[in-house]
């Protein structure tokens, strides 16, 4: 993916709002790794458009971030550089289930209906629950302000996480 990052960045801007079940053609235009360096969500957000989301990580930490209405939860994680191991491996194309998140009951009930394709991918997710969905398919709505989503445990998480020599 040696292509200059300018083009994919544009693509990414175009895709900023939520696209459920992306078409293969857009998907095929690989986005560049530079997306990981995206510092923050686009400016010009009026506070009304902002939705705050709390992520409970595998270690039990709470990460709080904001996105705008229409952003997917994958957008929120990427745009805010949230540190969740392995999240969003297929970049929102319904091909990996690494964006699996667990919702609160009252939020889960009001989420848009789930497609067969999302269910198919969810079947491969680790730690599946009754209120699981794929974060790349869930778009922020105002009513979701301050919701709490949980990152499911994986095999490695049963063990104590270690960070050696990490900057404080």
């Amino acid at each position: 993916m040696a292509a200059s990052s300018a083009v994919p960045l544009l693509l990414r801007a175009a895709a900023a709002s939520c696209h459920r079940l992306l078409s293969a053609s857009r998907v095929a235009a690989n986005r560049s790794p530079s997306r990981f360096f995206h510092a923050s969500a686009p400016a010009r957000l009026s506070s009304e458009d902002k939705v705050t989301v709390h992520f409970i990580t595998r270690d039990g930490d709470k990460l709080t971030a904001q996105g705008k209405v229409g952003d997917s939860l994958l957008d929120v994680v990427v745009d805010n550089n949230l540190d969740i191991d392995g999240f969003g491996a297929c970049e929102g194309t319904l091909a990996c289930s690494t964006c699996h998140l667990i919702f609160e009951d009252h939020i889960f009930e009001k989420l848009d209906a789930i497609t067969d394709e999302e269910l198919d991918m969810l079947d491969l997710a680790y730690g599946l629950t009754e209120t699981s969905r794929l974060g790349c398919q869930i778009c922020l709505q105002k009513s979701m302000n301050n919701m709490v989503v949980r990152v499911p445990e994986t095999v490695a998480d049963v063990r104590q996480s270690i960070d050696i020599g990490k900057n404080p």
Binding site: P33, E91, E117, D120, I162, G165
Partner: protein, 506 residues
């Protein structure tokens, strides 16, 4: 990769003695220490400032995810990835089907890892042949084996070697441009193809055989494969499994894709699915949904539009259950496959662990093309590494190779050749976690500096091996994408390693 860090090492070596305190990154000291540094410098370093030097063998998802986790959770770790082929990414490049480009998005994350200034990629180095694991252990504090599964299981039946019989592994390697399979040129003149096995690889192979050419043409499938597929006579693909519908190994997304394939009709025998309703009530959700989809397709009348599409389809596929391969029967010339003979089986036990036992009845299916898709298999690469040839894995506990301190494994060679990329990711994080634990507990001794790639380079040089760097790969990558653009596809893979090497000026 010309990173600031590499530059600083060189600068440091040139200006020995002067301004050393300016170099904050402990890693910058490592060459000095390993090349017999002045004792004054050694005193400046506490042991934990010396980053552990870690070597990973294989650049598939296991290699890259293990590297990613180590780099992220250890601020000083330096990771070198060795790869047999000039080009990286293992089965993401050479396994994942060309019509699944979205799965290959993981390459972006891997690329980011490779570009980290504490990670280096060395392609074109076959561990076990160009350099031994013992030699790597001399150069690194830890060696992680992530070399995947490069062989396949065999049927072990008469006629397996007849012309017209291929392994799915070779067929996949061929359409994906794997150098060792580039000359396979499968004979697709038979109207009926049989695929043995009910896994996702079997469905990949079926889809490639049946998909309309206009779909494949827009993918990164190799030009040569496309030309052979354009002349294919295959109209019917029969997927044959030794157990029943409740034991199928493929997953629902892939099955749904088969059912929805344009110009292709699914043929499921209603008799195979009647009465399954009760059996699936209590099974886990993935199995239940998969079975429900098969039952629906087999037993329910399709809607008008779908019925019309299926009626006009020019090709078809079917699932056959409870048949275990016995023999490939030769044509009169004694050389070509003419049919496959199978034992009719019944299930002993139920659920995932049910066993297929022959009933004594046999059945022949006429076909000139047989693809065996019964699984991949790992091989031992070096006599110094323990290997369980029965299970085809390196014996390990959470990725620690049993009886071999300092050696680890991850991915298919650790777990066996099953699992999607996310499975491999989790399992690689698990291995990386073991390495981190051992570093923390002191089980892994990093008090002595190790020569790392500098040491390996000299060994390789003496054997005439010149590694390919990640920026070399990026040149190959750019050339492939440029060639693809000319043909209206995302990439045209270079299938000849010599040509790759020429391209980067070797």
């Amino acid at each position: 990769m010309v990173s600031g860090f590499r530059f600083s090492c060189a600068a440091l070596r040139m200006g020995r003695g002067g301004g050393i305190l300016c170099w904050k990154r402990a890693s910058a000291f490592r060459f000095l220490v390993s090349s017999g540094s002045p004792t004054g410098i050694k005193r400046l370093l506490s042991t934990d400032e010396l980053g552990p030097r870690i070597c990973i063998v294989g650049s598939g998802p296991a290699g890259f995810y293990t590297a990613q986790h180590l780099l992220k959770h250890h601020r000083l770790a330096e990771v070198d990835i060795y790869e047999k082929l000039p080009v990286p990414f293992g089965l993401v490049r050479f396994g994942v089907a060309p019509d699944h480009p979205e799965v290959k998005n993981v390459i972006n994350t891997f690329t980011q890892t490779a570009r980290s200034d504490r990670c280096s990629y060395y392609g074109n180095v076959t561990v076990g042949k160009d350099i031994t694991v013992k030699e790597l252990q001399k150069a690194y504090h830890a060696v992680i084996l992530s070399y995947g599964a490069e062989d396949n299981r065999t049927l072990g039946i008469p006629g397996e070697d007849l012309a017209g019989v291929y392994t799915a592994r070779a067929f996949v390697g061929w359409y994906n441009g794997l150098p060792e399979n580039r000359d396979l040129k499968p004979d697709l003149s038979s109207e009926t193809a049989v695929i043995l096995g009910h896994g996702n690889v079997a469905l990949d192979v079926a889809r490639i055989l049946l998909s309309p050419l206009e779909i494949l043409r827009k993918t990164d499938i190799t030009e040569d494969s496309l030309a052979v597929l354009a002349r294919s006579k295959v109209k019917r693909v029969r997927l044959i499994g030794r157990r029943g519908p409740l034991q199928a190994a493929f997953t629902i997304k892939e099955l749904r894709e088969m059912i929805n394939l344009p110009s292709v009709r699914p043929l499921l025998d209603p008799a195979d699915f009647k009465g399954l309703g009760d059996a699936i009530r209590d099974v886990p959700r993935p199995r239940r949904r998969l079975t429900e989809l098969m039952v629906k397709t087999a037993l329910e009348e399709p809607g008008e539009e779908v019925a019309g599409r299926w009626a006009s389809a020019s090709r078809e596929w079917s699932l056959k259950f409870l048949r275990s391969p016995l023999e490939v029967l030769p044509a009169t010339d004694g050389k070509r496959a003419r049919a496959i003979r199978m034992a009719v089986t019944r299930l002993e036990g139920s659920g995932e662990t049910a066993k297929a036992v022959p009933t004594g009845e046999v059945e022949d299916v006429l076909c000139g093309l047989i693809l065996s898709s019964i699984g991949y298999r790992s091989l031992p690469v070096d006599p110094a590494v323990p290997f369980d040839s029965k299970q085809g894995i390196i014996p390990n506990s959470s990725g620690r190779v049993l009886g071999a301190p300092g050696l680890y494994c991850s991915g298919w060679v650790k777990r066996g050749p099953v699992g999607v990329i996310i499975t491999t990711m989790n399992d690689s994080f698990d291995t990386a976690q073991s390495v981190l634990e051992d570093l923390q507990s002191g089980a892994l001794d990093v008090s002595k500096a190790k020569g790392g790639f500098e040491l390996v380079r000299s060994v390789l040089k003496s054997r005439g091996i010149c590694p390919v760097s990640f920026s070399d790969w990026e040149k190959i990558d750019a050339a492939e994408m440029a060639r693809g653009k000319l043909g209206g596809k995302p990439r045209e893979k270079i299938v000849d390693p010599q040509e790759m090497l020429q391209l980067i000026g070797r």
